[in-house]
Symmetry: C2
Subunit: 397 residues, 2 copies
């Protein structure tokens, strides 16, 4: 065969390290802290089964036919109301559209807003799926340092002045992936003001924000948006099911029109069956009560992981104490590469993701790694953290 | 609000005229020949309901969790075997991956193969969803004339020599959308040989090929592919359900690896629920018997539309007699624009799509239009064709 010539935008991109790691961790002896999966025990399987039966009985033909690209109208309205009434997200200038998972919101936004060579400012470290999507449109992600309040606004402003063709600020303000940090409300205000002043759009990615286990609620950046500078992306993946692939976004309606054109070319529409299942679930059941159950489960797991780490991790390792979400972040001394550490841990049967995977500039030596606590059992958390502590002690001076 | 700046690749793209037309035709008094929808009465609603119940009972947690980007392994294997054994598609160099509908195969292929400014050679006229996808990556579709055997290979070769940076030949060889033409096997061979000689990939889009109502089976271009020059895209949209959004492609495995990376960024994966439903359907039921039923239904509709057109369309209008698929194509005298004609017909309550919509160069005046016969009832076909004949008589000299 002739050698294959891949487009410039895609030729440098490789499979997500995480999804590749996940292929390995189907081995049941392995303790995986690598995934970003919600726990299966939270999935409302029997509720969805009943709803599916009813749906096929009452609206089977509609569920199997083509539908509108922007999404199933009743679901759009349910989401619009929920966002507006519960979270003060969305104004009259805004519209909601349905996505095939939150990831599609990042993809369509990048496609509609970024030219080749444009810069996207994002948290360092950030979600690999977003970074790769920006790269796949020829854009360049540039990392802004974070502290315990989130993205540093002074560094952000410097970058807004210094970097060329900045078109987008990408942020996961609440329970950030991978670092578990939540941006303070004061920071959200400053970052929104900077976006307005420099006329740059903010892509606010918010898949985890309803999974809070402690601390108090911080309103979304989108709640501040009077000027049409924020695209808010949400998802049912972490609170109902990721396998259904139903997400949504809310932003100014002229941008939604363009995103709908992009979605026509991407996948025509999200399956009506999965949209209608989510819509029936929202109508019939109390999502907030279900989220309370998820929170209780994940809080126990988070607390268990943190207390075990506090008890047995050697001193030079530091880690975040996230108030919610699925991840925490561990930093180790500068001279130890996260990749080397994760390799050593993997050989002892514990899988975690090297921090460098999430670095906007792709620095694989970063001395840090990400741990997920939603998937493993309490027992696995105990065993896995003990092994990681052993590995750290062995590797540390 | 500040004016929105859309990326160069998307700024010129507007909503698909067809999907916009479809929004209008939800009015039940309108007779629509505009859609590309399969007939609802072909959807196996009760079978899928039973399968969904079983699926939630036995594999509910798996169906709702994340899965591999390349697709649900048993479904990949079912498709691989069906393509190989029934249609001689796929060699050892090839792999199958699952798509969120066939459209996603066009999108991912364009993303991985086309640079901005590249040329895609395609049939004139061609599928608007494909043309817009190529445009959305900054590529330029160039139309190759067709005759009753499909794309003209001499014109294709001229274009391969003349046009700059030709990276892709896009074709719907069987029951082409919009023209209803099927490419002869001799043509398929010549076009494949040209692709090899000029080292250009062929994107073979084949959503309709199992819906044959007359004439004899013509093997796919992919059956000839010994050199890894063909991407074969298929779908269950026209033979099971479009709303499920389950498609697939088959091509050389190194390209599949890259397409999987692109899919990670696009939507992570196709919903496991819909993939597993299709997989169970293929396992439990006889898809070929179901396709026979679809064929019988559509054959009757096609025959009805053609005989009615033969009986009452005025002479200067000519039209194709497709051997399968969902569409036929009508040409009217040069001095009448298809857009003006469709507007006049729309005012009489019959909707069809102006030919110009499908022109690679976007010439909206083209004297032609597309008719769909899978959606309307026999009665609607009779009434609608009579009205179109009236409109034609009124507009013709």
């Amino acid at each position: 065969m002739e050698e294959l010539t891949i487009s410039n935008r895609m030729s440098g991109l490789n499979p997500s390290a995480i999804r590749e790691i996940l292929k390995v961790t189907t081995n049941s002896n392995v303790i995986s802290f690598a995934a970003g999966n919600p726990a299966e025990e939270t999935f409302p399987v029997s509720e969805l089964k009943e709803l599916a039966v009813e749906l096929f009985q009452k609206h089977g033909f509609m569920a199997l036919q083509y539908g509108l690209t922007e999404g199933y109208a009743p679901l759009i309205e349910q989401i619009r109301l929920r966002l507006r009434e519960k979270y003060a997200i969305g104004r009259s200038m805004d519209k909601v559209m349905i996505l095939s998972g939150g990831q599609q919101g990042l993809d369509l936004s990048a496609k509609c807003l970024l030219n080749e060579g444009d810069t996207v400012l994002c948290e360092a470290y950030s979600f690999i799926g977003a970074l790769n999507t920006f790269r796949s449109y020829g854009a360049r992600p540039v990392g802004i340092p974070m502290d315990e309040e989130g993205m540093d606004p002074d560094a952000l402003e410097l970058a807004l002045r210094r970097e060329k063709n900045v078109r987008l600020i990408y942020t996961i303000p609440t329970f950030q992936n991978p670092m578990g940090v939540t941006m303070s409300f004061a920071r959200r205000k400053r970052i929104y003001e900077l976006a307005v002043r420099y006329n740059v759009m903010i892509l606010e990615d918010s898949p985890y924000f309803e999974l809070r286990y402690s601390g108090s609620y911080v309103p979304a950046i989108k709640t501040l948006d009077e000027t049409g500078h924020v695209i808010y992306v949400g998802s049912f993946s972490k609170v109902i099911s990721p396998g259904l692939r139903v997400g949504f976004l809310c932003t100014r309606s002229d941008l939604v029109s363009k995103l709908v054109v992009a979605k026509q070319g991407a996948d025509v529409q999200t399956p009506l069956l999965t949209q209608m299942l989510v819509s029936s679930y929202l109508e019939r059941y109390d999502l907030d009560a279900h989220i309370e159950d998820c929170r209780a489960l994940y809080k126990e797991k988070r607390d268990r992981m943190i207390s075990r780490m506090e008890a047995c991790f050697p001193d030079p390792a530091t880690f975040t104490r996230p108030a919610g979400g699925l991840f925490l972040w561990c930093e180790i001394p500068e001279n130890i590469s996260g990749t080397a550490f994760c390799k050593a841990a993997g050989e002892r049967g514990v899988v975690c993701v090297p921090g460098g995977t999430f670095h906007p500039s792709g620095d694989l030596k970063s001395p840090c790694f990400r741990l997920n606590y939603s998937m493993p059992s309490l027992k696995q958390i105990d065993q896995g953290i003990d092994i990681l502590a052993d590995c750290l002690s062995a590797i540390l001076p």
